[in-house]
């Protein structure tokens, strides 16, 4: 997972995943993440079948690392 400052005042996410058919799950995970985080960030997620909980944890860890 890569998290970088965005060029404009908005956040964007690119998800690449090897598992098909989880669009609603991804949306739910990202909606929950953005309910707690309002940074202008460009996020890239390379997913190899992580659970929603693991994805959310990785997002939170990336934010924590960026604020350090």
């Amino acid at each position: 997972m890569l998290l970088e400052p965005a060029d404009d005042a908005a956040a964007s996410v690119r998800v690449r995943t090897s598992a098909d058919g989880f669009k609603p799950t991804w949306k739910a995970v990202l909606d929950r993440f953005f309910s707690q985080y309002d940074g202008a960030a460009r996020i890239e997620i390379n997913d190899a079948g992580g659970t929603p909980g693991a994805v959310l944890l990785r997002l939170q860890q990336a934010v924590e690392a960026s604020e350090r």
Binding site: L2, R16, E44
Partner: protein, 289 residues
């Protein structure tokens, strides 16, 4: 049943095995001297995985860091076991080869630079088969070129181990460092079972596997130079010591006749006994070297 023993030292250690490839590489350097080269934000990733339905990684599972180890210049290349079993692809292989070749150029210019390979890998990544094989050939020649100037130290800690073409890379290294949890071998247990049958090698028998290809066995066979606890500080110290020691008088892989004679002396008609394999090393032979 014996009483459990809780060693404070063991419980308070930092496990090397539990660290990510990036953290493994980092913990070997003199604090603050390291910087990552061709890192994930450079997005040098495999072009072959996505077209086969596999998600690529921004660093292709290979971390390259440059810095100082015990005050000496060094480059550490670490493979991420969790990504594609640490498999070598076109890009991760090129990263490793380029790092070794740059270290070689530095040595030629008089800047002594060692290399440390953190090998958690099943060998060639199947999705990039021929390109991975070509990469292994390049890696081996680059190690052999570099080891004339400075030591190339291979570390395998587990849990993946070091197999396939990359076991050859470990084999041509100046020094091999293993933990008890590590495994080192050309063919992985599943491959041997698949090819030769379960009577030959039962890949589900973990105690048999570790007794044959595990770190302790490989150390006693003389195929590794150090057997270290799964402790980041101890592994870092061992690496520092080998960097300081410099190149060995003779590289293990130069002793072709010795190893041929040892292999010839094995009775392959029956299942090898792990204890017998310890005595593979003839102490008289070793002394004569």
């Amino acid at each position: 049943m014996s009483n459990p023993v809780f060693s404070r030292e063991y419980l308070q250690r930092t496990s090397f095995i539990e660290l990510s490839a990036r953290d493994r590489a980092k913990c070997l350097f003199d604090s603050g001297t390291e910087r990552e080269l061709a890192g994930p934000f450079d997005r040098i990733e495999s072009p072959w995985l996505a077209i086969q339905g596999v998600t690529p990684q921004a660093d292709d599972g290979c971390v390259v860091m440059r810095g100082k180890i015990g005050g000496r210049q060094a480059v550490v290349i670490a493979f991420a076991g969790p990504f594609q079993g640490g498999g070598i692809g076109e890009v991760s292989g090129a990263k490793l080869t380029a790092a070794l070749d740059l270290a070689c150029i530095d040595n030629e210019r008089g800047i002594n630079t060692s290399a440390v390979l953190l090998l958690e890998t099943g060998g060639v990544r199947l999705q990039e088969a021929n390109l991975g094989l070509a990469a292994v050939a390049e890696i081996i020649s680059s190690i052999i070129a570099l080891r004339r100037y400075a030591p190339v130290i291979s570390v395998t800690a587990g849990p993946v181990g070091c197999f396939g073409g990359m076991s050859l890379a470990a084999g041509v290294s100046s020094y091999v460092v293993l933990t008890r949890e590590a495994r080192l071998g050309l063919n992985g247990p599943e491959v041997i079972e698949e090819e030769s049958g379960v009577e030959e090698f039962d890949a589900s028998d973990r105690s048999l596997i570790w007794a044959i290809v595990g770190g302790e066995q490989r150390y006693h066979q003389g195929l590794a130079d150090a057997l270290v606890d799964d402790d980041a500080e101890k592994i870092a110290k061992t690496v520092r010591d080998f960097v300081a020691k410099g190149i060995p008088t003779v590289h293990r892989s130069e002793l072709v006749d010795l190893y041929r004679s040892r292999i010839a002396a094995l009775d392959t008609a029956r299942q090898l006994n792990p204890q017998e394999l310890h005595s593979w090393v003839n102490e008289k032979e070793e002394k004569e070297l």
